[in-house]
Symmetry: C2
Subunit: 276 residues, 2 copies
Protein backbone atom coordinates (compact mmCIF):
# COMPACT_ATOMS: atom_id res chain seq x y z
CA UNK A 1 0.00 0.00 0.00
CA UNK A 2 2.75 2.45 0.99
CA UNK A 3 4.35 1.93 -2.44
CA UNK A 4 1.21 3.07 -4.30
CA UNK A 5 1.65 6.54 -5.78
CA UNK A 6 -1.22 8.88 -4.94
CA UNK A 7 -2.33 12.14 -6.61
CA UNK A 8 -4.77 14.52 -4.91
CA UNK A 9 -7.06 16.44 -7.27
CA UNK A 10 -8.30 19.54 -5.44
CA UNK A 11 -6.87 21.76 -2.70
CA UNK A 12 -9.89 22.90 -0.71
CA UNK A 13 -11.18 22.09 2.76
CA UNK A 14 -11.22 18.32 2.34
CA UNK A 15 -7.84 18.17 0.57
CA UNK A 16 -6.32 20.37 3.30
CA UNK A 17 -7.19 17.63 5.80
CA UNK A 18 -6.72 14.59 3.55
CA UNK A 19 -3.22 15.52 2.31
CA UNK A 20 -1.60 15.69 5.76
CA UNK A 21 -3.60 12.60 6.80
CA UNK A 22 -2.15 10.62 3.86
CA UNK A 23 1.39 11.71 4.79
CA UNK A 24 0.88 11.00 8.51
CA UNK A 25 -0.34 7.52 7.55
CA UNK A 26 2.92 6.94 5.69
CA UNK A 27 1.16 6.86 2.33
CA UNK A 28 2.88 7.99 -0.83
CA UNK A 29 1.23 11.29 -1.83
CA UNK A 30 3.17 12.45 -4.90
CA UNK A 31 1.33 15.47 -6.28
CA UNK A 32 -1.47 17.95 -5.64
CA UNK A 33 -3.50 19.56 -8.40
CA UNK A 34 -5.89 22.51 -8.12
CA UNK A 35 -7.41 24.63 -10.88
CA UNK A 36 -6.35 27.56 -8.71
CA UNK A 37 -2.56 27.95 -8.55
CA UNK A 38 -2.89 29.85 -5.26
CA UNK A 39 -4.76 26.95 -3.66
CA UNK A 40 -2.34 24.40 -5.15
CA UNK A 41 0.65 26.37 -3.89
CA UNK A 42 -0.84 26.87 -0.41
CA UNK A 43 -1.41 23.13 0.12
CA UNK A 44 1.78 22.14 -1.71
CA UNK A 45 3.89 24.32 0.57
CA UNK A 46 1.96 23.25 3.66
CA UNK A 47 2.71 19.59 2.92
CA UNK A 48 5.99 19.84 0.98
CA UNK A 49 4.40 17.96 -1.92
CA UNK A 50 4.84 19.08 -5.56
CA UNK A 51 1.82 20.90 -6.92
CA UNK A 52 0.40 22.13 -10.20
CA UNK A 53 -2.57 24.03 -11.63
CA UNK A 54 -2.03 22.51 -15.09
CA UNK A 55 -4.10 19.37 -15.76
CA UNK A 56 -1.59 18.27 -18.41
CA UNK A 57 1.19 18.37 -15.81
CA UNK A 58 -0.57 15.89 -13.53
CA UNK A 59 1.50 12.67 -13.34
CA UNK A 60 -0.24 10.16 -15.68
CA UNK A 61 1.46 7.05 -14.24
CA UNK A 62 0.29 7.04 -10.60
CA UNK A 63 -1.80 4.34 -8.92
CA UNK A 64 -4.53 6.32 -7.10
CA UNK A 65 -6.21 9.62 -8.00
CA UNK A 66 -8.40 11.10 -5.25
CA UNK A 67 -10.82 13.80 -6.40
CA UNK A 68 -11.65 16.43 -3.76
CA UNK A 69 -13.46 18.81 -6.08
CA UNK A 70 -17.04 20.06 -6.19
CA UNK A 71 -19.75 17.67 -7.37
CA UNK A 72 -20.40 19.93 -10.36
CA UNK A 73 -16.80 20.03 -11.61
CA UNK A 74 -15.96 16.38 -10.85
CA UNK A 75 -16.57 14.91 -14.33
CA UNK A 76 -15.14 17.83 -16.29
CA UNK A 77 -11.89 17.76 -14.27
CA UNK A 78 -11.74 13.95 -14.56
CA UNK A 79 -12.21 14.04 -18.34
CA UNK A 80 -9.40 16.59 -18.67
CA UNK A 81 -7.01 14.17 -16.98
CA UNK A 82 -4.76 11.66 -18.81
CA UNK A 83 -4.16 8.70 -16.50
CA UNK A 84 -3.17 5.07 -17.04
CA UNK A 85 -6.23 2.88 -17.48
CA UNK A 86 -5.48 0.68 -14.46
CA UNK A 87 -5.37 3.55 -11.97
CA UNK A 88 -7.89 3.63 -9.10
CA UNK A 89 -10.11 6.73 -9.44
CA UNK A 90 -11.80 7.92 -6.23
CA UNK A 91 -14.17 10.74 -5.36
CA UNK A 92 -14.96 12.02 -1.86
CA UNK A 93 -18.55 13.28 -2.31
CA UNK A 94 -21.50 12.35 -0.13
CA UNK A 95 -24.08 12.64 -2.87
CA UNK A 96 -22.38 11.57 -6.12
CA UNK A 97 -23.05 7.88 -6.86
CA UNK A 98 -20.23 5.37 -7.43
CA UNK A 99 -21.46 4.93 -11.02
CA UNK A 100 -20.30 8.42 -12.04
CA UNK A 101 -17.02 6.89 -13.35
CA UNK A 102 -18.61 3.72 -14.79
CA UNK A 103 -18.51 4.74 -18.45
CA UNK A 104 -14.83 5.72 -18.31
CA UNK A 105 -12.68 3.37 -16.18
CA UNK A 106 -12.55 -0.09 -14.64
CA UNK A 107 -11.20 0.68 -11.18
CA UNK A 108 -13.04 3.36 -9.25
CA UNK A 109 -14.58 4.02 -5.88
CA UNK A 110 -15.74 6.46 -3.22
CA UNK A 111 -13.91 7.65 -0.11
CA UNK A 112 -16.48 9.78 1.75
CA UNK A 113 -15.32 11.34 5.03
CA UNK A 114 -18.36 11.99 7.25
CA UNK A 115 -17.09 15.21 8.80
CA UNK A 116 -17.24 18.98 8.34
CA UNK A 117 -13.87 20.38 7.29
CA UNK A 118 -12.49 23.90 7.50
CA UNK A 119 -8.93 24.91 6.70
CA UNK A 120 -8.82 26.77 10.02
CA UNK A 121 -9.61 23.69 12.12
CA UNK A 122 -7.22 20.85 12.98
CA UNK A 123 -8.82 17.39 13.18
CA UNK A 124 -7.64 13.93 14.17
CA UNK A 125 -8.28 12.17 10.85
CA UNK A 126 -7.98 8.76 12.58
CA UNK A 127 -11.38 9.52 14.15
CA UNK A 128 -13.12 10.64 10.93
CA UNK A 129 -15.64 8.01 9.76
CA UNK A 130 -14.73 7.01 6.19
CA UNK A 131 -17.51 5.55 4.04
CA UNK A 132 -16.09 3.53 1.16
CA UNK A 133 -17.49 1.86 -1.96
CA UNK A 134 -15.64 0.25 -4.89
CA UNK A 135 -16.33 -0.92 -8.45
CA UNK A 136 -14.65 -4.33 -8.14
CA UNK A 137 -12.74 -6.59 -5.75
CA UNK A 138 -9.28 -5.28 -6.67
CA UNK A 139 -10.39 -1.69 -6.20
CA UNK A 140 -12.10 -2.63 -2.94
CA UNK A 141 -8.96 -4.29 -1.55
CA UNK A 142 -6.77 -1.31 -2.41
CA UNK A 143 -9.31 1.31 -1.18
CA UNK A 144 -9.96 -0.57 2.07
CA UNK A 145 -6.22 -0.87 2.79
CA UNK A 146 -5.72 2.86 2.22
CA UNK A 147 -8.82 3.89 4.20
CA UNK A 148 -7.79 1.77 7.19
CA UNK A 149 -4.39 3.43 7.26
CA UNK A 150 -6.13 6.82 7.33
CA UNK A 151 -8.86 6.18 9.90
CA UNK A 152 -10.01 3.77 12.59
CA UNK A 153 -13.61 4.29 11.46
CA UNK A 154 -14.00 2.71 8.02
CA UNK A 155 -17.41 1.46 6.80
CA UNK A 156 -18.44 0.01 3.44
CA UNK A 157 -21.58 1.90 2.47
CA UNK A 158 -23.55 1.79 -0.79
CA UNK A 159 -24.28 4.92 -2.84
CA UNK A 160 -27.95 4.87 -1.73
CA UNK A 161 -27.08 4.64 1.96
CA UNK A 162 -24.39 7.28 1.52
CA UNK A 163 -26.98 9.66 0.06
CA UNK A 164 -29.19 9.20 3.14
CA UNK A 165 -26.16 9.58 5.41
CA UNK A 166 -25.33 12.85 3.66
CA UNK A 167 -28.90 14.05 4.24
CA UNK A 168 -28.67 13.08 7.92
CA UNK A 169 -25.38 14.97 8.12
CA UNK A 170 -27.10 18.09 6.79
CA UNK A 171 -29.52 17.90 9.75
CA UNK A 172 -26.79 17.12 12.29
CA UNK A 173 -24.35 19.74 11.02
CA UNK A 174 -25.71 22.40 8.62
CA UNK A 175 -29.07 22.83 10.29
CA UNK A 176 -27.68 22.55 13.81
CA UNK A 177 -25.11 25.24 13.05
CA UNK A 178 -27.85 27.44 11.58
CA UNK A 179 -29.85 27.09 14.81
CA UNK A 180 -26.76 28.35 16.65
CA UNK A 181 -26.88 31.34 14.31
CA UNK A 182 -30.59 31.98 14.92
CA UNK A 183 -30.01 31.85 18.68
CA UNK A 184 -27.02 34.16 18.30
CA UNK A 185 -29.12 36.72 16.42
CA UNK A 186 -31.72 36.68 19.22
CA UNK A 187 -28.98 37.54 21.72
CA UNK A 188 -27.59 40.20 19.39
CA UNK A 189 -31.01 41.89 19.32
CA UNK A 190 -30.83 42.05 23.13
CA UNK A 191 -27.31 43.46 23.05
CA UNK A 192 -25.95 40.16 24.36
CA UNK A 193 -22.95 38.31 22.95
CA UNK A 194 -23.06 34.90 21.22
CA UNK A 195 -20.34 33.69 23.59
CA UNK A 196 -22.99 33.52 26.33
CA UNK A 197 -24.43 30.47 24.49
CA UNK A 198 -21.11 28.64 23.95
CA UNK A 199 -21.10 26.59 27.19
CA UNK A 200 -24.67 25.47 26.40
CA UNK A 201 -23.83 24.52 22.80
CA UNK A 202 -20.72 22.68 23.98
CA UNK A 203 -22.66 20.71 26.60
CA UNK A 204 -25.52 19.96 24.18
CA UNK A 205 -23.11 18.17 21.83
CA UNK A 206 -21.13 16.49 24.61
CA UNK A 207 -24.32 15.04 26.14
CA UNK A 208 -24.99 12.92 23.03
CA UNK A 209 -21.44 11.58 22.96
CA UNK A 210 -22.74 9.18 25.64
CA UNK A 211 -26.54 9.54 25.76
CA UNK A 212 -28.93 9.11 22.86
CA UNK A 213 -30.61 12.35 21.65
CA UNK A 214 -33.87 10.99 23.09
CA UNK A 215 -32.29 10.59 26.55
CA UNK A 216 -30.65 14.01 26.29
CA UNK A 217 -33.80 15.88 25.19
CA UNK A 218 -35.01 18.55 27.62
CA UNK A 219 -37.11 21.69 27.41
CA UNK A 220 -40.69 22.96 27.31
CA UNK A 221 -41.73 20.77 24.36
CA UNK A 222 -40.09 17.72 25.98
CA UNK A 223 -42.17 18.26 29.12
CA UNK A 224 -45.27 19.60 27.36
CA UNK A 225 -44.98 22.93 29.23
CA UNK A 226 -47.69 24.78 27.29
CA UNK A 227 -47.33 27.99 29.33
CA UNK A 228 -43.68 28.45 28.27
CA UNK A 229 -44.41 27.29 24.70
CA UNK A 230 -47.12 29.98 24.61
CA UNK A 231 -44.76 32.66 25.97
CA UNK A 232 -42.14 31.79 23.35
CA UNK A 233 -44.65 31.83 20.49
CA UNK A 234 -45.73 35.25 21.74
CA UNK A 235 -42.13 36.50 21.56
CA UNK A 236 -41.93 35.27 17.95
CA UNK A 237 -45.31 36.58 16.79
CA UNK A 238 -43.68 39.25 14.59
CA UNK A 239 -41.40 36.77 12.80
CA UNK A 240 -43.68 34.37 10.93
CA UNK A 241 -40.83 32.15 9.68
CA UNK A 242 -39.22 31.72 13.09
CA UNK A 243 -42.65 31.12 14.63
CA UNK A 244 -43.33 28.38 12.06
CA UNK A 245 -39.89 26.86 12.73
CA UNK A 246 -40.47 26.99 16.51
CA UNK A 247 -43.89 25.31 16.23
CA UNK A 248 -42.68 22.71 13.73
CA UNK A 249 -39.71 21.69 15.90
CA UNK A 250 -41.67 21.77 19.17
CA UNK A 251 -44.44 19.60 17.69
CA UNK A 252 -41.82 17.25 16.26
CA UNK A 253 -40.24 16.87 19.72
CA UNK A 254 -43.66 16.06 21.25
CA UNK A 255 -44.39 13.48 18.53
CA UNK A 256 -40.98 11.81 18.89
CA UNK A 257 -41.64 11.44 22.63
CA UNK A 258 -44.90 9.64 21.95
CA UNK A 259 -43.16 7.43 19.38
CA UNK A 260 -40.29 6.66 21.76
CA UNK A 261 -42.75 6.19 24.64
CA UNK A 262 -40.18 8.08 26.68
CA UNK A 263 -40.83 8.17 30.44
CA UNK A 264 -43.46 10.84 31.02
CA UNK A 265 -42.18 13.94 32.77
CA UNK A 266 -45.28 13.83 34.93
CA UNK A 267 -43.70 10.88 36.73
CA UNK A 268 -40.62 13.00 37.41
CA UNK A 269 -41.64 16.54 38.38
CA UNK A 270 -38.01 17.48 38.94
CA UNK A 271 -37.29 16.96 35.23
CA UNK A 272 -39.01 20.29 34.74
CA UNK A 273 -36.14 21.84 36.68
CA UNK A 274 -33.99 21.51 33.65
CA UNK A 275 -34.16 25.09 32.54
CA UNK A 276 -35.74 24.40 29.21
Amino acid sequence: MTTKRIVLIGAGNVAHHLAPALLNAGLNLCQIYSRSIESARELGRKTGISYTADLFAVYPDCDIYIFCVSDDSLLSVFKGLRVNKNALILHTSGSVPLSVFEAYVENYGVLYPLQTFSKKRVLNFREVPLCIEASNENSRTLLLAMAEQLSGQVREISSDKRGKLHLAAVFANNFTNHLYGIAGKMLEEEGLDFSLLRPLIFETAHKVMLLSPEEAQTGPARRNDESILGKHKGLLKNDKKLLTLYSLLSDSIKESLVKNETKSVAEDPQMTLTLW
Copy 2:
Protein backbone atom coordinates in the same frame (compact mmCIF):
# COMPACT_ATOMS: atom_id res chain seq x y z
CA MET B 1 -21.02 35.84 52.33
CA THR B 2 -19.70 32.48 53.58
CA THR B 3 -21.57 33.07 56.86
CA LYS B 4 -24.95 33.36 55.11
CA ARG B 5 -27.09 30.27 55.69
CA ILE B 6 -28.54 28.87 52.45
CA VAL B 7 -31.50 26.50 51.89
CA LEU B 8 -32.05 24.76 48.56
CA ILE B 9 -35.71 24.16 47.64
CA GLY B 10 -35.84 21.35 45.08
CA ALA B 11 -33.65 18.32 44.36
CA GLY B 12 -33.83 17.86 40.60
CA ASN B 13 -31.35 18.37 37.77
CA VAL B 14 -30.47 21.97 38.64
CA ALA B 15 -30.26 21.36 42.40
CA HIS B 16 -28.02 18.32 41.75
CA HIS B 17 -25.50 20.67 40.15
CA LEU B 18 -26.10 23.75 42.30
CA ALA B 19 -25.75 22.00 45.69
CA PRO B 20 -22.22 20.68 45.08
CA ALA B 21 -21.32 24.00 43.43
CA LEU B 22 -22.38 25.91 46.57
CA LEU B 23 -20.30 23.60 48.75
CA ASN B 24 -17.26 23.75 46.42
CA ALA B 25 -17.49 27.54 46.56
CA GLY B 26 -17.26 27.36 50.37
CA LEU B 27 -20.82 28.63 50.78
CA ASN B 28 -22.95 27.62 53.74
CA LEU B 29 -25.62 25.27 52.36
CA CYS B 30 -27.60 24.13 55.41
CA GLN B 31 -30.60 22.19 54.14
CA ILE B 32 -32.21 20.65 51.06
CA TYR B 33 -35.98 20.33 50.63
CA SER B 34 -37.84 18.31 48.02
CA ARG B 35 -41.53 17.35 47.90
CA SER B 36 -40.20 13.87 47.08
CA ILE B 37 -38.38 12.30 50.05
CA GLU B 38 -36.47 10.00 47.66
CA SER B 39 -35.10 13.00 45.72
CA ALA B 40 -34.33 14.87 48.96
CA ARG B 41 -32.53 11.83 50.38
CA GLU B 42 -30.57 11.21 47.16
CA LEU B 43 -29.18 14.75 47.05
CA GLY B 44 -28.83 14.98 50.83
CA ARG B 45 -26.67 11.86 50.94
CA LYS B 46 -24.71 12.91 47.83
CA THR B 47 -23.78 16.21 49.50
CA GLY B 48 -23.88 15.28 53.20
CA ILE B 49 -26.39 18.07 53.83
CA SER B 50 -29.50 17.57 55.99
CA TYR B 51 -32.65 17.09 53.95
CA THR B 52 -36.42 17.04 54.37
CA ALA B 53 -39.62 16.49 52.37
CA ASP B 54 -41.67 18.36 55.00
CA LEU B 55 -42.19 22.05 54.21
CA PHE B 56 -42.79 22.77 57.92
CA ALA B 57 -39.38 21.29 58.74
CA VAL B 58 -37.55 23.77 56.48
CA TYR B 59 -35.35 26.06 58.62
CA PRO B 60 -37.27 29.37 58.92
CA ASP B 61 -34.27 31.43 60.07
CA CYS B 62 -31.84 31.14 57.13
CA ASP B 63 -30.58 34.00 54.95
CA ILE B 64 -31.04 32.72 51.39
CA TYR B 65 -33.67 30.36 49.92
CA ILE B 66 -32.94 29.17 46.37
CA PHE B 67 -35.94 27.67 44.56
CA CYS B 68 -35.04 25.01 41.97
CA VAL B 69 -38.60 23.81 41.36
CA SER B 70 -40.79 23.79 38.26
CA ASP B 71 -42.27 27.11 37.11
CA ASP B 72 -45.76 25.78 37.82
CA SER B 73 -45.08 24.77 41.43
CA LEU B 74 -42.86 27.74 42.34
CA LEU B 75 -45.51 29.93 44.00
CA SER B 76 -47.38 27.14 45.75
CA VAL B 77 -44.16 25.80 47.31
CA PHE B 78 -43.08 29.33 48.25
CA LYS B 79 -46.43 30.10 49.92
CA GLY B 80 -46.18 26.88 51.95
CA LEU B 81 -42.89 28.05 53.41
CA ARG B 82 -42.49 29.99 56.68
CA VAL B 83 -39.34 32.13 56.42
CA ASN B 84 -38.11 35.27 58.16
CA LYS B 85 -39.21 38.36 56.27
CA ASN B 86 -35.65 39.59 55.64
CA ALA B 87 -34.50 36.45 53.84
CA LEU B 88 -33.38 36.66 50.21
CA ILE B 89 -35.73 34.56 48.03
CA LEU B 90 -34.32 33.40 44.68
CA HIS B 91 -35.68 31.39 41.77
CA THR B 92 -33.63 29.81 38.98
CA SER B 93 -36.11 29.87 36.08
CA GLY B 94 -35.44 31.28 32.62
CA SER B 95 -39.01 32.34 31.97
CA VAL B 96 -40.48 33.39 35.33
CA PRO B 97 -40.21 37.18 35.83
CA LEU B 98 -38.51 38.69 38.88
CA SER B 99 -41.87 40.16 39.92
CA VAL B 100 -43.29 36.74 40.84
CA PHE B 101 -42.29 37.35 44.51
CA GLU B 102 -43.19 41.07 44.53
CA ALA B 103 -46.47 40.76 46.44
CA TYR B 104 -44.91 38.64 49.21
CA VAL B 105 -41.39 39.74 50.20
CA GLU B 106 -38.92 42.63 50.08
CA ASN B 107 -35.71 40.86 49.15
CA TYR B 108 -35.88 38.59 46.12
CA GLY B 109 -34.08 37.85 42.90
CA VAL B 110 -33.27 35.46 40.06
CA LEU B 111 -30.25 33.19 39.62
CA TYR B 112 -30.67 31.70 36.14
CA PRO B 113 -27.95 29.28 35.03
CA LEU B 114 -27.80 29.23 31.22
CA GLN B 115 -26.99 25.55 30.83
CA THR B 116 -28.65 22.17 30.29
CA PHE B 117 -28.37 19.98 33.38
CA SER B 118 -28.69 16.24 33.76
CA LYS B 119 -27.97 14.28 36.93
CA LYS B 120 -25.81 11.91 34.86
CA ARG B 121 -23.47 14.64 33.61
CA VAL B 122 -20.71 16.35 35.58
CA LEU B 123 -20.17 20.04 34.80
CA ASN B 124 -17.67 22.71 35.82
CA PHE B 125 -20.10 25.17 37.43
CA ARG B 126 -17.43 27.90 37.33
CA GLU B 127 -18.03 28.00 33.55
CA VAL B 128 -21.84 28.12 33.70
CA PRO B 129 -23.14 31.59 32.75
CA LEU B 130 -25.29 32.89 35.63
CA CYS B 131 -27.89 35.55 34.78
CA ILE B 132 -28.90 37.49 37.89
CA GLU B 133 -31.57 40.07 38.74
CA ALA B 134 -32.55 41.50 42.14
CA SER B 135 -35.42 43.47 43.74
CA ASN B 136 -33.24 46.05 45.52
CA GLU B 137 -29.63 47.09 46.16
CA ASN B 138 -29.18 44.94 49.28
CA SER B 139 -30.48 41.86 47.48
CA ARG B 140 -28.32 42.69 44.47
CA THR B 141 -25.15 42.95 46.57
CA LEU B 142 -25.79 39.63 48.30
CA LEU B 143 -26.85 37.81 45.09
CA LEU B 144 -23.89 39.16 43.12
CA ALA B 145 -21.43 38.10 45.82
CA MET B 146 -22.89 34.58 45.91
CA ALA B 147 -23.07 34.27 42.10
CA GLU B 148 -19.45 35.36 41.67
CA GLN B 149 -18.32 32.71 44.13
CA LEU B 150 -20.20 30.10 42.06
CA SER B 151 -19.20 31.10 38.53
CA GLY B 152 -16.75 33.19 36.53
CA GLN B 153 -19.57 34.09 34.12
CA VAL B 154 -22.05 36.32 35.97
CA ARG B 155 -24.28 38.79 34.07
CA GLU B 156 -27.01 41.10 35.33
CA ILE B 157 -29.93 40.53 32.96
CA SER B 158 -33.50 41.87 33.15
CA SER B 159 -36.55 39.57 33.13
CA ASP B 160 -37.37 40.60 29.56
CA LYS B 161 -33.87 39.86 28.27
CA ARG B 162 -33.82 36.60 30.25
CA GLY B 163 -37.03 35.52 28.53
CA LYS B 164 -35.42 36.06 25.10
CA LEU B 165 -32.25 34.33 26.28
CA HIS B 166 -34.33 31.35 27.35
CA LEU B 167 -35.97 31.27 23.90
CA ALA B 168 -32.55 31.43 22.24
CA ALA B 169 -31.41 28.57 24.48
CA VAL B 170 -34.34 26.48 23.25
CA PHE B 171 -33.03 26.91 19.69
CA ALA B 172 -29.39 26.28 20.65
CA ASN B 173 -30.12 23.28 22.88
CA ASN B 174 -33.60 21.69 22.62
CA PHE B 175 -33.98 22.08 18.87
CA THR B 176 -30.35 21.25 18.12
CA ASN B 177 -30.61 18.06 20.15
CA HIS B 178 -33.83 17.16 18.34
CA LEU B 179 -32.05 17.56 14.98
CA TYR B 180 -29.46 15.07 16.27
CA GLY B 181 -32.40 12.75 16.92
CA ILE B 182 -33.90 13.24 13.44
CA ALA B 183 -30.50 12.51 11.86
CA GLY B 184 -30.13 9.46 14.09
CA LYS B 185 -33.50 8.10 12.94
CA MET B 186 -32.43 8.49 9.29
CA LEU B 187 -29.35 6.36 10.00
CA GLU B 188 -31.46 3.84 11.94
CA GLU B 189 -33.70 3.40 8.88
CA GLU B 190 -30.56 2.51 6.89
CA GLY B 191 -29.38 0.06 9.55
CA LEU B 192 -26.60 2.46 10.55
CA ASP B 193 -25.73 3.46 14.11
CA PHE B 194 -26.09 6.98 15.58
CA SER B 195 -22.46 6.79 16.72
CA LEU B 196 -21.42 7.31 13.08
CA LEU B 197 -22.62 10.94 13.47
CA ARG B 198 -20.90 11.64 16.79
CA PRO B 199 -17.59 12.96 15.39
CA LEU B 200 -19.56 15.32 13.13
CA ILE B 201 -21.80 16.56 15.97
CA PHE B 202 -18.76 17.05 18.18
CA GLU B 203 -16.90 19.04 15.51
CA THR B 204 -20.01 21.10 14.64
CA ALA B 205 -20.19 22.40 18.23
CA HIS B 206 -16.43 22.82 18.61
CA LYS B 207 -16.24 24.91 15.43
CA VAL B 208 -18.40 27.67 16.96
CA MET B 209 -16.32 27.77 20.14
CA LEU B 210 -13.97 29.93 18.04
CA LEU B 211 -15.81 30.82 14.82
CA SER B 212 -19.18 32.52 14.53
CA PRO B 213 -22.03 30.29 13.25
CA GLU B 214 -21.98 32.34 10.04
CA GLU B 215 -18.27 31.58 9.50
CA ALA B 216 -18.82 27.92 10.38
CA GLN B 217 -21.83 27.41 8.08
CA THR B 218 -21.28 24.88 5.27
CA GLY B 219 -23.48 22.68 3.09
CA PRO B 220 -25.69 22.69 0.01
CA ALA B 221 -27.88 25.59 1.19
CA ARG B 222 -24.78 27.58 2.18
CA ARG B 223 -23.38 27.21 -1.34
CA ASN B 224 -26.75 27.30 -3.14
CA ASP B 225 -26.17 23.80 -4.53
CA GLU B 226 -29.64 23.30 -6.02
CA SER B 227 -28.84 19.85 -7.41
CA ILE B 228 -28.10 18.41 -3.94
CA LEU B 229 -31.00 20.35 -2.36
CA GLY B 230 -33.23 18.77 -5.02
CA LYS B 231 -31.86 15.27 -4.32
CA HIS B 232 -32.46 15.69 -0.59
CA LYS B 233 -36.02 16.97 -1.07
CA GLY B 234 -36.60 13.93 -3.27
CA LEU B 235 -35.44 11.63 -0.44
CA LEU B 236 -37.90 13.34 1.92
CA LYS B 237 -40.89 13.43 -0.43
CA ASN B 238 -42.76 10.80 1.63
CA ASP B 239 -42.33 12.69 4.90
CA LYS B 240 -44.16 15.99 4.51
CA LYS B 241 -43.11 17.34 7.92
CA LEU B 242 -39.40 16.62 7.45
CA LEU B 243 -39.61 18.01 3.92
CA THR B 244 -41.14 21.23 5.27
CA LEU B 245 -38.46 21.41 7.97
CA TYR B 246 -35.70 20.81 5.40
CA SER B 247 -37.01 23.54 3.07
CA LEU B 248 -37.63 26.00 5.91
CA LEU B 249 -34.11 25.60 7.32
CA SER B 250 -32.41 25.58 3.91
CA ASP B 251 -34.24 28.76 2.85
CA SER B 252 -33.39 30.34 6.20
CA ILE B 253 -29.68 29.56 5.66
CA LYS B 254 -29.81 31.14 2.18
CA GLU B 255 -31.53 34.26 3.53
CA SER B 256 -29.08 34.66 6.40
CA LEU B 257 -26.21 34.57 3.89
CA VAL B 258 -27.75 37.40 1.92
CA LYS B 259 -28.31 39.35 5.16
CA ASN B 260 -24.75 38.74 6.34
CA GLU B 261 -23.43 39.46 2.86
CA THR B 262 -21.19 36.48 3.47
CA LYS B 263 -18.44 35.98 0.87
CA SER B 264 -20.10 34.26 -2.08
CA VAL B 265 -19.09 30.64 -2.60
CA ALA B 266 -18.71 31.45 -6.30
CA GLU B 267 -15.55 33.34 -5.39
CA ASP B 268 -14.20 30.25 -3.67
CA PRO B 269 -15.02 27.12 -5.68
CA GLN B 270 -13.11 24.98 -3.18
CA MET B 271 -15.64 25.85 -0.47
CA THR B 272 -17.93 23.39 -2.23
CA LEU B 273 -15.47 20.69 -1.23
CA THR B 274 -16.83 20.80 2.24
CA LEU B 275 -18.97 17.74 2.06
CA TRP B 276 -22.17 19.48 2.81
